[in-house]
Amino acid sequence: MSDLILPTQIDLLHVSAVILLIATFGIVVRRGFSDWLHAYRYQTIILAGVVTLIAFVTSIWELYIVSALTLGIKAIIIPKVLFYVTKKLDSPIKLEMNPYVSLRISVIASALLVAMSYFMALQLPISSDKTISVFLPVSFSLFFIGLFIIISRRKALNQIVGLLTIENGLFLFAVVVTHGFSLIIEIGLMADILVGVIISSILLFRMSHTFDSVDIKNLESLRDD
């Protein structure tokens, strides 16, 4: 199957991988609540496009459905839920004021993470297939950048966006390596993510209700009463 990929299709795959990486950087450089969500939505739309491209190249029709599901749930419903949450949140400041790592250092660190994931992917012996060798490092870097967002930012909403970025990376990994799970598992995963986002937004509400802010530093102080 992989022998049938044309050179122009490989070029297309490369360019789409680059665009996906650039969209991921959009999440890292933003400062506002709604900016992250917009960046996440763009990233997911591009991810859906990438999955469609993979489906076209490898001609597996199930991947088209998976891409449509991604577009529907992750690019439309989840941002809607999170936008609703940000609107209802009575936190006075809607910007990431002082993250643990400053923005310009986190941009450079993410670039280093991308470099690291490319070197890691070179070490792995499974790069026989062309789509794998193109997208495996990209999925690694999505995973690492998501982790980095989680550990470097203070606001709880940003942690959710980081988690969703990690999930996007894992999803890309799964699609590329296995050419799609069976459709039932895929739908189940999507439902899982949706439930996870809803639960974490309920937690966000509780947090902002109790502490009057969504700074995760508040969660560190333990009280016994």
């Binding site: 680059v18 650039i22 950087f25 310009r104 941009v107 450079i108 993410s110 280093l112 991308v114 490319y118």
Partner: protein
């Protein structure tokens, strides 16, 4: 490609003259687009030419506290930018003067002009000029590594720093650009905005001297000297636009030299540069000026983007 005929040298001079003469027009187009997108009417697109002619006719005032640096800076600035224009291909795929120097020489000529401009800002000891010089220094210290990283990415992909080589191998690639070059494109665009003093970095059109960088350096100039400074700034902007278009969007070059081919090439070039100029002007209306210490965030983006470009080359 070492020996060119006299005719080709003539064409090379024509290319450089095109850049020098057309540069105020691009400034005019950008101002018009900005005015239009802010619901103003704006001056006509030839207004920069009238400005330069008006300034050339006016008397100039030079502070008696200033040294020779202040008087010689506009000439140095103009000569460096105008000689940098000789290395840029416009409608031919090469520039006959490309054997003399490469893209690093162009950057070096810009740096020389900028160095003297900063000295002139400090020279008259007005507080605004000094402030502007200091900011200009900070910006150029930040921009330079990013610019060199981007040049290295481009040189790695298009084998060589010679502009003619870069442009001809960019012209040979297919419509779908090389993935690593995409990163260089983003980085180069950010650097272009920084070098030409566009809005997230510098606001040239205010009259609040505290917010501007480039304009407060040339604040003390008047008359012919001011005209030279403005014109060389316009030429620098035009050169950067032309480089951007040549490297990332080639495919307009003349194969065999004829009058029709050359005029079509010139027209396509002007169209591409004005589309790029309109796009930058449009971006400028969308963003506000950033705080001076947040500017380095954008430069960090440029640096990391070109870093990933390097990674893509060694894949």
């Amino acid at each position: 490609m070492s020996d060119f005929s006299i005719f080709e040298y003539g064409l090379g001079i024509l290319q450089a003259l095109l850049i020098i003469v057309l540069s105020p027009l691009i400034v005019g187009i950008m101002r018009k687009i900005k005015a239009k997108s802010q619901k103003r009417i704006g001056a006509g697109i030839c207004q920069p030419y009238y400005d330069i002619i008006k300034l050339l006719r006016k008397d100039e005032i030079v502070s008696d506290q200033s040294s020779w640096i202040f008087r010689v800076t506009p000439w140095i600035n103009f000569v460096t930018t105008a000689s940098a224009a000789f290395f840029i291909p416009v409608f031919l795929i090469y520039s006959p003067f490309g054997v003399v120097g490469d893209v690093l020489l162009v950057v070096g000529l810009f740096a020389l002009g900028k160095f003297f401009m900063m000295l002139a800002g400090l020279d008259v000891a007005s507080s605004f000029g000094g402030l502007g010089s200091i900011r200009e220094m900070m910006m150029s210290v930040l921009v330079e590594p990013a610019l060199f990283m981007t040049i290295f990415v481009i040189a790695l992909f298009y084998d060589g720093t010679n502009i003619s080589t870069i442009v001809s191998s960019a012209n040979d690639t297919s419509i779908l650009i090389v993935p690593g070059i995409l990163f260089a494109l983003i980085a180069f665009f950010i650097i272009m905005m920084a070098e030409t003093g566009k809005l997230p970095f510098d606001n040239p059109s205010t009259h609040l001297e505290l917010t501007m960088i480039h304009e407060s350096v040339v604040l003390e100039y008047s008359g012919k000297n001011l005209a030279l400074m403005e014109w060389s700034h316009a030429i620098k902007q035009m050169i950067l636009f032309a480089l951007f278009v040549d490297i990332f969007f080639p495919w307009n070059f003349v194969e065999q030299i004829s009058l029709v081919g050359i005029s079509i090439g010139i027209l396509v070039f002007i169209t591409k540069v004005s589309v790029l100029a309109s796009f930058t002007a449009f971006i400028e209306t969308l963003v506000a000026k950033w705080r001076l210490f947040r500017v380095s965030d954008l430069i960090a983006m440029a640096i990391s983007s070109s870093m990933i470009g390097v990674i893509f080359f060694f894949l």
